[in-house]
Assembly symmetry: C2
Homo-oligomer: 357 residues x 2
DNA sequence: GTGAAAGCGCTAACAC
DNA sequence: GTGTTAGCGCTTTCAC
């Protein structure tokens, strides 16, 4: 007799729209209109319906609504990894916006090219499941966006940019310029670079752009680009450590390093310390993000408004879904250099450059 | 004529189960059985159906399936905050399991008591939306679980424990004991504690339990408990910094501090450094979690298998949903002390304790 | 302003 | 082994 005895049983059946209709003495159509705030409902009727619905603890079944409308009231966040500081911040910002607007936020890990392809495929798991998706650091081109749009999906990209769909990005050239010019201005000439894989399977373009910006800045300063000074840190702490360890055992190691993320920069600091080097005396390091802990370890970094980027992306997506697309298509967030304690002038070394005439 | 012209239009209508049925020359029921691997389908028929479905790029509409079955094939992760390392690790582990099993993972931020209450309420947003939910560090009691079960929802808790629903936890007493005994064994007697709010609005019990374990360990060692030595760090870096700053300006400051999370420990390190103190010479600090960056800053900490905890929780939940509940109800994950560079013996001070007879 | 009824696309009896 | 059919609970014309 105890309804809670079998946890898998539905227990006391929940009120349906019909129950509300009967109890309020109106039709289900009226209940539907009244509860959703649609016009053509007498104020008195609406009030009564709302009243009854509350008493019955009525909640529309989302699945039924989805089936009838074709809209899922859910959006997806497609991410390459979850255990990254940047992504969890973005997610945090996006979640707040989505929940405020009554949208479910579904997290989809897209690790590796097969996963990416299958997500973008014709018979994707996105189908009818969400109304839109924001791709974080995942390569989608205009064809992909068009194909998704054709199926009624709104799209926003982060990191990556396409011509057709809204995005929120930062000026990657500027990021690299700020970091590299800072090191140059301190007198560094041998500057290491810690980034992602050369040929990223997910076509993640941010590292490519930061690298280009780094090179451009070096060239502008007349500093020769040494391919040996580039390490692959995969945007993780340990990846950064390993990559930095590699650079440090070069015959002519860098006196400074630009890590494309703070997490890699932390790894670089670890590698330096493991080698008995002092930061910034022996080697300077600058990162990107302004991670929570950057202030703790005194990391010089290029700051970006991470959580804000997440909420803007979600906003852009929801506006697109609801048709309130008055917002500009491509948002560019500001970045700025935060100088802390991991950067300083290089130690005077055998002044090779001074040999010049 | 371009179907992609209006992105909000459905475009070329996707195949429904009926289309597949017609094309395969069978009934929709057979298609449904064939595609879901149910018995009572001739091998040849099944093969043909699968073939046709593939050609038509058919994907069942999840909303329709949900409405018909009452199962949503989705689960929720209810979290108090998103920008915590611990939570994003757990999420990462859970996402992998869910996606492998074809379940959607919905993230729900539950910040503050009103949000908690509304989530647990009769007419909750959980209703019919998910098949189960894992509560991370959110207070749910047996009544809550019973009420949710009554509505057909599976529940798993993390951090918190109830009598009736599965959980994955760590031995919080052990955590505190490992940390505090380590400090005691080094000779510390004035040991600070960095935790959460005294009266947590979400009823988050972990800090309470760690605090109890800390006190018990101190008492066992005959060390008097000084309430002044307890700071509220809210499990964030900056919270830890502020709390630690408070402890450090005490007339008789602690020589060591036990932070209930690595993030607070990082904050504590920052506060110490800002005060010109050296770690561990002037003050030792030990945390909990073994954060990615703990190794970088050399933090002594009590390690727990965070991502694994997330995947186990998801597994427990899915097994509960599918009825494959052969797994034990309460999983306890192992913890261990990782000694690094932030702890050492205290400086010899005016030996007040030596005045004793 | 309100109601009747036809779906939305699928699943699950039940019949054959 | 396969088909028929009645829902699942909501939205949305179209009448009135």
């Amino acid at each position: 007799m105890d309804p809670a005895a079998d946890p898998s049983s539905p227990g006391p059946r929940r009120a349906t729209i019909e129950d509300v209709a009967v109890a309020a003495g109106v039709s289900v159509a009226t209940v539907s209109r009244a509860l959703r705030g649609l016009p053509h409902v007498a104020p008195a009727t609406r009030q009564r319906v709302v009243q009854v619905a509350t008493e019955l603890a009525y909640r529309p079944d989302p699945a039924a609504a989805r089936l009838a409308t074709g809209r899922s009231q859910a959006v997806a966040l497609a991410v390459p990894v979850l255990n990254s500081w940047y992504i969890s911040q973005v997610e945090s910002g996006a979640e707040a916006v989505c929940s405020a607007d009554g949208y479910d936020l579904i997290i989809m890990g897209v690790t590796g090219e097969p996963a990416r392809r299958s997500l973008l495929a014709e018979e994707s798991s996105l189908h009818r499941r969400v109304d839109g998706v924001v791709f974080i650091d995942i390569a989608v081109d205009d064809d992909d966006v068009a194909r998704l749009a054709e199926r009624g999906l709104a799209v926003v990209t982060l990191g990556n940019v396409t011509a057709t769909c809204p995005s929120v990005t930062i000026d990657e050239d500027e990021v690299a310029r700020l970091a590299t010019e800072h090191l140059l201005s301190l007198g560094h000439r041998r500057i290491g670079l810690l980034g992602g894989q050369r040929d990223d399977p997910l076509g993640f373009s941010v590292p490519r752009r930061r690298r280009a910006g780094h090179h451009a800045t070096l060239e502008r300063a007349g500093v020769e680009i040494d391919p040996d000074l580039e390490g692959i840190g995969n945007f993780s702490v340990m990846g950064g450590r390993d990559a930095m360890a590699g650079l440090l055992q070069l015959p002519d190691p860098p006196t400074a390093v630009f890590a494309m993320s703070d997490e890699m920069a932390f790894g670089a600091m670890l590698a330096a310390r493991e080698r008995g080097l002092d930061i910034p005396r022996d080697v300077s390091v600058v990162g990107v993000d302004d991670h929570d802990l950057s202030i703790v370890v005194g990391l010089t970094t290029v700051q970006q408004p991470v959580a804000d980027i997440g909420s803007r992306a979600a906003r852009l997506l929801l506006d697109q879904i609801t048709g309130a697309a008055a917002t500009p298509a491509h948002i560019r967030s500001p970045v700025s250099l935060v100088v802390r304690a991991t950067t300083s002038a290089p130690l005077p070394r055998r002044q090779e450059t001074a040999e010049k005439p």
